[in-house]
């Protein structure tokens, strides 16, 4: 494959910028010594993946990701951080293990395996651009995938009730 050719496509330049941003943000998520900074870096990484979804023509998924993850999940994380760092009087213990290198080795091996397998399988296959309209997605979701959709909504309801039951105080 010719890298000069590949980089002459403006879409690929955009991809490289977004990918570098996402990887830097993801690395900060797992290394930042400040819990709140790690959560805010997750926002950056998720925003990058929403931009990738827009590049792939998946508009509805991209905006659903922005709404659900950045809007709801990250706020929930910030609440969780605030609740679990309540002033207990002692210094917060260090956030990381001392033994980082075995973990880094495992991560590196996983990356090498996944990346080499996917490059070997899809050598130079190209993604044709093309936007899928939200209406089509809605049609498919409520015809072909209606039973999984209902099952997922039931799971969400169960998780909601389970969360309330777990987090409320026991009436003594």
């Amino acid at each position: 494959m010719d890298w000069g050719d590949w980089l002459s496509n403006p879409q690929n330049i955009l991809f490289v910028v977004i990918a570098l941003l996402m990887v830097a943000a993801a690395v900060r998520v797992v290394t930042s010594p400040n819990v709140v900074h790690a959560t805010l870096m997750l926002v950056l990484a998720l925003g990058g993946s929403a931009a990738l979804f827009l590049m792939l023509g998946a508009e509805f998924v991209a905006w659903a990701l922005v709404l659900i993850y950045i809007g709801a999940v990250v706020v929930l994380f910030l609440f969780g951080i605030m609740i679990t760092r309540a002033p207990t009087g002692r210094d917060p213990v260090r956030l990381d293990h001392e033994r980082r290198w075995p973990a880094a080795l495992v991560a590196l091996a996983t990356f090498a395996t996944l990346a080499s397998a996917s490059v070997a399988a899809f050598e130079d296959e190209v993604i044709e651009g093309g936007v899928s309209r939200t209406g089509e997605l809605g049609d498919v979701l409520f015809s072909r995938f209606v039973i999984p959709f209902e099952a997922v909504s039931f799971v969400l309801l169960a998780a909601l009730i389970g969360g309330i039951v777990l987090a409320r105080k026991d009436p003594d």
Partner: protein, 101 residues
């Protein structure tokens, strides 16, 4: 755009998430790293869907399902973390060895 560029980026994000799960000791930060891994999977799904030109849009539908399940997982996970904090006033995972044999 190649398929493999998206797959390699997703693999990189996934392995960063694995590193975070292994190395972090705070339970909330472990949940954050799991979110990274789930996002990597949905990038894969959407890229496959765009590559296959699927008329059923299965890739996007499954990415939506992954997002939904992730939201449910965060809700339950944080409820559990809050409860652990209430009982032990710490969310350090190294101290949670009650069920270790």
């Amino acid at each position: 755009m190649l398929v493999s560029q998206f797959l390699v980026l997703a693999a990189l994000l996934f392995s960063i998430g694995i590193y975070g799960v292994l190395v972090r000791r705070n339970a909330v930060l472990v949940l954050l790293s799991i979110e990274l891994m789930l996002t990597a999977v949905s990038i894969n799904l959407v890229a496959f869907g765009a590559h296959l030109q699927d008329t059923l849009l299965s890739g996007q539908v499954f990415a939506l399902f992954v997002i939904t399940i992730a939201a449910a997982e965060v809700g339950i996970g944080l409820a559990i973390v809050v409860m652990i904090f209430r009982n032990r006033s710490s969310v350090n995972l190294d101290e949670l060895d009650l069920m270790r044999w």
